[in-house]
């Protein structure tokens, strides 16, 4: 027997008095499902993930990174959860270079350890998180604390979030260009998340960050950056579920601007497609474009070894401050082995070129840069 072609529209307003009387009984609808608001996790999660990263410029094999990491999430009763992660990364290969060709690139082999822990308390319509993080390298140590809060409206369709963080970094480069330098950063963010429909969730956020202290790269020649850098961001995230395909389109956009004079735009799309009960495939596309910092200097085109700069002027040859654009393509496959176990594999290819840029100008001769990274994870939920 075929189903009636006309499906009733549950989205229409049910404001009949009997319906309202039934809905006013507690316990008929599952605890209001989180649309915008966070609720305490019901399961613990342990996850191991490792990343292999390798980048290159034409004819040159450069940095390689191996990055194993652990993450844990533990519910502590009804209102509290503890989460934390530990990441260890080993960087090896030639040191980053600013020029398209330079002799005598030195080898690097560096280790970094970072860890963080967060305690979150969940109330009826709000949640509050406190976290601390530390990142340690032989020449760079960063300690930070942050707090965030989420408040949901009565209908749980709208939530506001605020977050604040502070970090204090110590810099002791091996080349002794500077000694015991510091960098302090304060950042804040505020946003609104709203369930637009049963299939659409939108988030708008604005962020601000201010850093002061030593912000230059001690390992780069002619790197002399202002000792204060303020930046602002605006971001938009939209998750849309396509019922007919069972798929979810996750999209995001971010605009960034700082007092170095850099503007950037980032757009990202992910298509989450369950292909069976156990398999989920997620292809992704990311585009990034930035303009150059005001004091960015292109490598000299006339073949002279060093750029001509007035004494004491701000300058940097760091190509990360140049105008460029970048595309990243990714594919992720998740395999839910059982109720408890799942595993995933994600691969990403990234290419940056000055010609890919949509905004900014300059740096036509900068060498293309590309990397690929592969992540493998396995997690246990209980």
């Amino acid at each position: 027997m075929p189903a009636a072609p006309v499906s009733p529209n549950p989205a229409s307003d049910w404001c009949g008095s009997v319906v309202l009387a039934a809905l006013s009984l507690p316990g008929l609808l599952a605890a209001p499902l989180p649309a915008a608001a966070d609720s305490a996790p019901e399961h613990a999660l342990l996850q191991f993930k490792t990343e292999h990263y390798q980048d290159s410029q034409p004819g040159f094999q450069r940095i390689r990174v191996e990055e194993p990491a652990l993450y844990g999430l533990l519910p502590l009763g009804e209102h509290l959860s503890l989460s934390g992660s530990a990441v260890y990364d080993v960087v090896s290969g030639a040191s980053p270079r600013s020029y398209s060709s330079t002799s005598g690139a030195s080898r690097v082999h560096e280790k970094r350890f970072s860890g963080d822990a967060e305690l979150t308390w969940y109330a009826d319509r709000s949640s509050y998180g406190l976290s601390a993080a530390r990142s340690q390298e032989h020449d760079y140590i960063s300690n930070s604390v942050s707090g965030d809060a989420v408040f949901a409206a009565d209908d749980n369709n709208t939530a506001c979030n605020v977050g604040l963080s502070a970090s204090r970094d110590s810099i002791n480069p091996t080349n002794d260009i500077v000694e015991n330098e510091h960098r302090t950063t304060y950042a804040g963010i505020a946003g609104v998340t709203r369930a637009l429909s049963a299939n659409d969730l939108l988030q708008v956020q604005a962020g601000y960050s201010t850093s002061h202290g030593y912000l230059s790269d001690p390992y780069k020649l002619f790197d002399n950056r202002p000792r204060r850098r303020n930046s602002g961001t605006g971001s938009l995230r939209w998750n849309h579920h396509i019922g007919g395909l069972g798929a979810t389109l996750r999209s995001s956009y971010r605009v960034f601007h700082d007092t170095y004079g850099i503007w950037s735009h980032t757009a990202e799309l992910q298509w989450v497609q369950p292909v069976s009960l156990r398999w989920v495939l997620t292809p992704g596309l990311r585009y990034y474009t930035q303009s150059a910092a005001r004091f960015y200097v292109d490598p000299p085109a006339d073949g002279s070894p060093f750029p001509q700069l007035p004494d004491g002027a701000f300058s940097s040859l760091d190509h990360r401050l140049s105008a460029f654009g970048a595309f990243a393509l990714s594919q992720k496959a998740e395999w839910h082995l059982s109720e408890h176990w799942s595993t995933d594999l994600r691969a990403e290819y990234y290419q940056a070129r000055s010609s890919f840029r949509f905004i900014g100008q300059g740096s036509p001769g900068l060498a293309n840069f590309q990397y690929y990274q592969v992540q493998f994870g396995i997690s246990y939920r209980f």
């Binding site: 209001p32 993930k49 930070s144 965030d148 950042a187 950037s264 735009h265």
Partner: protein, 74 residues
Amino acid sequence: MNRAWVVLITIAAGAAGSGCAMQAPKPWQKGVLAKPEMTMAGDMLELKFNDHTWTSKEASFGGFGVGGGGCGCN
């Protein structure tokens, strides 16, 4: 800079326009929104890895949250 504002305004207008045409869900219609892929959160380690990679290769950072601290890679 002009282009930046054009992009922003276009997206904001699109979002606002689509918001008007949609109807906020009732509590019993939130099954889809509760799916993990529909929440704003995600795989924590994947987010950490990607954020680390991108902030170390690009001049921009932040925008979707705070915390996590600094790194010598920037």
